[in-house]
Symmetry: C2
Subunit: 469 residues, 2 copies
């Protein structure tokens, strides 16, 4: 993808200079324009080219953010929120230039309400930092997208990950937000009450809006008690279909599985090589159960029966933390095992989600596609949600290979959409998936655009992401 | 409250006549203008006065709804969606006149996807009808607001009820919607995939929008497997505080309680009289646990210990369906027991929700307020969510009493807001709670208004509800 494909033109250079001068006067050395820092804030984790902002501001409060948004607004300069930079779809790029708002210094847990099972954090708090902070109180924040992302970024992209099957995604775990709007006003989207019918659900409108409707400056998230007991296990299956059917039956039976992850044959092979394991090279499910001692034992036993009925097994499981980590090692190392398959190649991450009933079909068709096109692309799936990924290893210097990978990615999305699915289960739209939204949403995309225009009439909030203005 | 307080002026009479003529040509005898039918469609369940529409249309398809919305749009005549008429806040009134869209004839379950645990229904399907339909497949739809409301109406008001503590509210159980917008376009807000990060969350924007942004014509809802075992029980407590603390500890402990309902002393007394019971006249919790046989036994035993630690008990529970119904009889009859306290009076329903940590304080302050003002107003709470109601029995012919009740209701809302709560946990805003939204949302109300104006620039979608245009 050439930079030209990535929407938008740079804004007026004189205006940008004026905005930077005004920001520098306000932020002092917390406004940085060095080439290195700017490039670090243009997306670089993926195949999407780096598009650095003109400057990076490091606010320390919602009022600082408000000032930055107001100054940028006066000069019609874009504002791009930045968490930890783990985005996979170009969310933090600055295709039209502008100012990156880096939440590095807004990383405090503001309050924990143990009785209400919620806490209030600044956007720069990362999920590991939060869980570290909460541990002594016997509480945890369940969303785990893999990377140690910031809560602000996870909110903005509607992140989820391995245990969404039980605890939901960010949309289910954010109670309220403080947001600086394009007009410079600060709003609070909801109270801390567990539920409300008092008007439009602004909280969930901003969750997943990727900074295009405003800048999130405070997040109230739900917490959970650390489970009394955690059981972890792994189970081989004769086919992807059998593994998916075991997943369906598990969920239908009301077994509250906390994680249920699929690794396909290619991924298991890669893990055996990388982590020096001797797993059977066949599709495998990795499971985790949370509950009481008796509860996880019962859940595990029931899952074992379901697996056996479908030709899977043996199901090995344990409640011993160390052994659990060992059993799960292949899953933990999955990403690095893939990268090692082809040193020097870039991993081209994909992310689709389909109804569970279509998952086996979607995965096996994708495997066939991978084989037909000689791609190196093991599959890992959060199968309880019908969500799966493959990381295609691409030599970015070979244009034919890059083109073939993009074509594969496009076929994958079309396949998922044809199966009543979505072009992204959890990575978000950013720049990379904008081109699929018309096919996915049809006329509803106009509704999204109408909302964008109503809340950000000058297209200054992370422009060139989600909806073209 | 005089009709004048209920926002808006009637639209142009000539335009209304023209719209009705065009609708009659299209709908034939499915367009009704008789006084009786019109009045039946103006809200009448509550203290809010009846404001009938000019006509009632009975569509049979999304395209019928589209036609009705287009015709009304051409003539700038309001459109008011109507489910089963169980609204408590004037949602279905027609303060500016217009056409009520009654979903009586759109009451089919369109498809059930057992493997995906979802189904697609028309808006007129009621929750009891849906559960009847699903029973043979071992599935159920969990949201239970008490009344046999339509799924369309429940979606529009973001309904919840007794088992939201475990299964969430409508916002958590609606996967996708088909909506006719003010501009006459039909959109689909999402796919059937369990999760997605593909753009703005239009589904949840429409859930709870009370028909003010468009007319819902199809709903995809999540389903659950019917639990293997259901245990029900009741437990007296020495105080509201002890009952609330038991609730907090239960939830903190990760016990997945399915229902946890509080009846205060006054409500228990009313139930003893009405249902001829001999319950201890002290605050009581009514509980339900869903799970395996061993699971519900463990949950019940653990709750019993928690209750005992807080001075509550004995906790009586059973898995026998008939005995369970008997134990729960007071809760089932709660509404009728209250109404019987003062024959001829109207029940003035309230509905606030606060963080759990503030619930005991909010309930006891409210009890003191009730006592001080000599109101008859027993309290029932969905305490797992921090949500509670009282139905004040009012003689609507006594203006002083009506005024006192309104003043009480207003104090209750202010009290909840001061405790970081919301003016409505589940009944919705309608006409009745509009006046509290500025206090609850502050500047965010302007954001709601901006969205309303962007999607319904002529203010034709259920005008005079939620946000004043």
């Amino acid at each position: 993808m050439a930079v030209a494909e990535l929407a938008g033109e740079r804004r007026n250079e004189t205006a940008v200079k004026a905005a930077i001068a005004a920001l520098a006067a306000k932020f002092g050395n917390r406004l940085v324009t060095s080439q290195a820092v700017r490039e670090q804030h243009g997306n670089s984790l993926t195949w999407i080219p780096n598009q650095p902002p003109d400057a990076v501001a490091f606010p320390q409060s919602a009022e600082d953010v408000q000032d930055a948004v107001r100054i940028c607004g006066q000069h019609k300069v874009p504002v791009i929120p930045y968490g930890t930079g783990t985005s996979l779809e170009g969310h933090i790029n600055a295709p039209q230039g502008g100012v990156s708002i880096d939440f590095r210094d807004m990383n405090r847990v503001l309050s924990v309400h143990a009785e209400d099972l919620d806490c209030v954090v600044q956007p720069g708090v990362t999920r590991k930092q939060l869980n570290e902070y909460l541990r002594d109180q016997g509480l945890f924040f369940p969303i785990d997208p893999g990377a140690d992302a910031s809560i602000g970024g996870m909110t903005a992209t509607r992140a989820s990950g391995t245990n969404a099957v039980r605890y939901g995604t960010m949309k289910d775990n954010v109670l309220a937000l403080k947001v600086v709007l394009a007009n410079g006003e600060i709003i609070t989207t909801s109270s801390r009450a567990k539920k409300s019918s008092a008007g439009y659900d602004l909280t969930r409108l901003f969750v997943g809006s990727e900074g295009t409707l405003g800048v999130i400056t405070e997040i109230t998230v739900k917490l959970h008690g650390i489970p009394e007991q955690i059981a972890g296990g792994i189970c081989p299956f004769p086919s992807v279909e059998a593994a998916c059917n075991a997943t369906i039956t598990t969920i239908q039976s009301g077994i509250p599985v906390a994680r249920i992850e699929l690794l396909d044959e290619a991924q298991v092979k890669a893990c055996n090589a990388f982590s020096k394991l001797d797993l059977p090279e066949t599709p495998m499910l990795f499971l985790e159960f949370h509950g009481t001692e008796a509860g996880v034992a019962e859940q595990s036993a029931r899952f074992g029966e379901i697996a056996a009925d479908l030709g899977g097994g043996p199901f090995k499981w344990t409640v011993n933390a160390e052994e659990r980590t060992k059993l799960w090692q292949a899953r933990h190392d999955a990403y690095w095992a893939v990268v090692r398959l082809r040193p020097g190649a870039k991993a081209f991450a994909t992310d689709v989600c389909v109804p569970l009933s279509r998952l086996a079909e979607c995965v096996t068709e994708t495997q066939r596609d991978i084989a037909e096109h000689n791609l190196i692309a093991p599959i890992v799936g959060h199968v309880g949600d019908g969500n799966f990924h493959t990381s295609v290893l691409v030599d970015m210097d070979d244009p034919a290979e890059v083109a073939a990978t993009k074509a594969f990615s496009e076929r994958l999305v079309r396949r998922a959409l044809a199966m009543e699915g979505t072009c992204t289960g959890e990575h978000g739209v950013g720049q990379g998936k904008m081109k699929y939204l018309a096919a996915e949403h049809g006329e509803a995309l106009s509704t999204m655009r109408a909302i964008k225009r109503a809340l950000d009439p000058e297209d200054l909030m992370n422009p060139g992401k989600i909806v073209a203005f």
